[in-house]
């Protein structure tokens, strides 16, 4: 299932945040969206998943979601959004219960996703006992449990320290290599974008418009930490963004 955005524009009151965004998200690929702060990256992601409605333009699902998909458009949030009163397994089970999946069928799915995210030993732990990286792996496991057609990742690694971030990027690459998934990955971190993105959409500052789409052909599995090819791409992206980022930084909030 592909996602197509056509002519999406949006304003919050007087403030125009996004102008005429047209973009295709092909299935099986990770599309990263980068841009200076306040350019509407996260808003765009909320449009794609239907948590907010754009003023103009539309977001289309092209084709039917694959069979067995419980929640085609599934988010992974920056703040993990785990229920603190439910165990790791309980947090995964939460999203299955509404689809009538309980008992042994739920057990199988939960075991499988916890195994894929290396959390099997922590099934009974409460979120307060977990580190930030583990919490985000629980959120990833929860997302995998509903077999999404598209994963919508809103700065998923931004709340983590840089070492945990590296580890989780490796985990994400391993997950994708095992079963390629479609994802829209919003980040302000260019290193993450070049590591994980098949294509990187660079947005301008407010009102957000697409400035450039950078394709990275190197297979995900071959990209490593401090890769010289990626460094060059990252430098290119930074050159595109630097002036805008500086201008965005100097802007007053709320007009």
């Amino acid at each position: 299932m592909d996602i197509r955005l056509s002519g999406v524009s949006h304003a919050y009151g007087q403030m125009e945040v996004m102008r005429d965004i047209t973009l295709d998200i092909p299935s099986g690929q990770i599309v990263c969206i980068v841009g200076p702060s306040g350019c509407g990256k996260s808003t765009l992601l909320r449009f794609i998943g239907g948590l907010e409605r754009p003023d103009q333009g539309e977001v289309l699902q092209m084709g039917a979601p694959p069979e067995g998909c419980l929640n085609p458009l599934t988010y992974i949030f920056q703040d993990f959004a785990l229920l603190p009163w439910r165990s790791v397994a309980g947090n995964v089970s939460l999203v299955l219960e509404d689809h009538g999946i309980r008992g042994t069928r739920a057990r199988e799915i939960i075991d499988d996703v916890l195994d894929r995210t290396k959390l099997t030993d922590f099934a009974k732990a409460l979120p307060k006992q977990l580190s930030g990286g583990m919490k985000q792996r629980v959120a990833i496991a929860r997302a995998l449990a509903v077999r999404p057609a598209v994963m919508l990742m809103d700065e998923p690694l931004s709340a983590l320290d840089s070492q945990t971030r590296e580890l989780l990027m490796d985990d994400l690459i391993a997950l994708w290599t095992r079963t390629p998934f479609t994802a829209v990955y919003v980040t302000h971190n260019l290193a993450e974008a070049v590591r994980l993105g098949h294509s990187i959409v660079v947005l301008s500052r407010r009102p957000g418009q697409i400035r450039e789409i950078v394709e990275i052909r190197k297979p995900l599995a071959e990209r490593g930490f401090a890769d010289p090819d990626l460094e060059a791409q990252q430098k290119h992206l930074w050159n595109l963004m630097r002036d805008e980022a500086r201008a965005a930084d100097a802007e007053l909030l709320h007009g």
Binding site: Y75, A81, D98
Partner: protein
């Protein structure tokens, strides 16, 4: 590196305090000291018998109360009034509070009404309740229920408002039904606020219980205290007051226990 001639001075520690720690026995010690002081004062005549009864006499009165079986005769009607009234008020209060938290129209309609009812001293309405619900238990239940209702409503809708919106967003993004979001996200998320509201509501319920019993009851702790007061029997008055204090401590301990059971997930 500093040269060998410089003097070394240890950095002063200045980071202490402002972190509450559990000191279990201090509370008890304060109680014991106060009572011991009263006992000493009344024995030596430093405190006149008119101002304060001897704690040992109060204990003796309490023992008699227990042995004659009068204790239960007063305590059981009081406890049942408290249980029925508070359960009624708290459950309706939680229900209405959740509805206010969830629906804008109900909020707009009821919040001003609750604000108008809250400051009314409920005891002033007792004559009205007697007409509405009868002179017997009905009016006492109603008074206690009404008194617990308002603080419970206010605490509950505040707690619902404070539920982490990002968790609700998460529920919506996974396509959870409205019912599931309310039952599995909103209610557990509001539980800490609801329970701390109950602490206050139940203390108010005890106060109203006594007030209701003072105005018209044959048996009950309130009636017992009123009678003792009328006769200026300080020992019995204090025995009654001690029962009320113990009741308050017990209720508070029960809520702490529920909190430990239900809210173990809190950091």
């Amino acid at each position: 590196m500093a040269d060998p001639g410089t003097t070394a001075r240890r950095v002063d520690f200045r980071g202490g305090g402002f972190a509450p720690q559990s000191r279990r026995w201090v509370g008890l010690v304060v109680f014991v000291l106060l009572i011991a002081f009263a006992e000493w004062g009344t024995r030596t005549g430093f405190i006149s018998a008119l101002t304060l009864p001897k704690p040992s006499d109060v204990l003796e009165t309490f023992r008699q109360l227990y042995e004659t079986g009068l204790l239960w005769k007063h305590l059981i009607p009081s406890l049942s009034r408290l249980a029925v009234g508070a359960a009624l008020g708290a459950s309706v209060g939680i229900g209405v509070g959740v509805l206010i938290g969830l629906f804008s129209y109900i909020r707009a309609g009821l919040v001003p009404l609750i604000a108008a009812i809250f400051p009314i001293p409920k005891i002033a309405l007792l004559p009205l309740f007697v007409i509405w619900f009868g002179i017997d238990e009905g009016s006492k239940y109603a008074l206690i229920a009404f008194g617990t209702f308002t603080p419970t409503v206010v605490a509950t809708y505040g707690a619902v408002d404070n539920v982490d919106r990002s968790l609700i967003r998460m529920g919506q993004s996974f396509g959870l039904s409205w019912r599931s979001i309310v039952l599995k996200i909103v209610l557990p998320g509001a539980m800490p606020g609801i329970l701390s509201g109950l602490r206050i509501s139940l203390a108010i319920a005890i106060i109203l219980l006594v007030a209701a019993e003072m105005l018209g009851a044959e048996y009950g702790i309130g009636a017992y205290i009123l009678e003792a007061g009328a006769l200026y029997d300080l020992e019995r008055l204090f025995a009654g007051v001690v029962i009320l204090s113990l009741l308050g401590v017990l209720v508070s301990a029960a809520i702490s226990m529920i909190e430990r059971q239900l809210l173990g997930w809190r950091t």
